[in-house]
């Protein structure tokens, strides 16, 4: 299940939904990304996220089905916010349930690594000198290539 949305999400109800549908799953792993209040250039008060409607959903669906091919998973949920988001707010959620914890950990980390390098989102940061487009991160590319070793 994929959701691209402007409004914030409720981690609590996301976890409860994963758990209510976990059936025989023994493990739930969640990842939440928050807007940091700093970056390499100074403090950040707000970010603004642009995306490519249509391709975004298609790319997240494809990431999740690749995760399901690789590991035995129960529930998978991905939420990504768009538009303006204030510092310390939630940006992204990945939740996975699985029979075995190793599968849940792997799938959750794979999905966020893959999302960071291939889902069409672009972030601007509001800094004291105005909005600036964020540069892509080589450590994200490295995190991704590890899955295709």
């Amino acid at each position: 299940m994929i959701s691209i949305q402007k409004q914030d999400f409720d981690h609590c109800s996301e976890y409860n939904q994963l758990r209510d549908n976990a059936d025989s799953d023994g493990a739930i792993v969640t990842f939440t990304g928050l807007v940091r209040d700093f970056n390499q250039d100074g403090s950040v008060s707000i970010i603004d996220i642009e995306h490519y409607p249509g391709m975004t959903e298609k790319s997240l669906m494809s990431i999740c089905s690749e995760a399901r091919n690789r590991w035995q998973l129960g529930q998978v949920k991905v939420i990504h916010r768009i538009g303006p988001i204030a510092a310390t707010e939630q940006i992204v959620f990945v939740g996975v349930s699985a029979k075995h914890r190793k599968d849940a950990f792997n799938a959750c980390e794979f999905i966020i690594d893959y999302l960071k390098t291939s889902a069409p989102f672009w972030k601007q940061e509001g800094t004291p000198t105005g909005m600036k487009w964020v540069k892509s991160n080589t450590s994200d590319t490295e995190a991704m290539t590890r899955w295709f070793g």
Partner: protein, 81 residues
């Protein structure tokens, strides 16, 4: 006719979000990009920095063929999450 979309910094620098582009034939993504760059100053950004391309909403390499009716998009490396 193909539709070309631009996102994020490319959209800002080019000053366009969408371009309908007369098209017939069998060009590659790289050839279409080169044709855009030759249109003038504000298009240079396509040549000056790393640009990704999607054809019909799937990431593609520069040698991918573009067919009439396709939706093409050029954008900077993604920075979500």
């Amino acid at each position: 006719m193909i539709q070309i979309k631009f996102f994020a910094m490319l959209r800002e620098r080019i000053g366009l979000a969408t371009l309908n582009f007369e098209y017939a034939g069998e060009k590659t993504v790289a050839e279409i990009k080169q044709q855009l760059v030759s249109k003038g100053a504000q298009w240079q950004v396509l040549a000056e920095q790393e640009v990704l391309c999607a054809v019909n909403q799937t990431l593609c390499g520069p040698e991918s063929k573009v067919n009439d009716g396709d939706e093409i998009a050029f954008f900077p490396p993604v920075t979500g999450g």
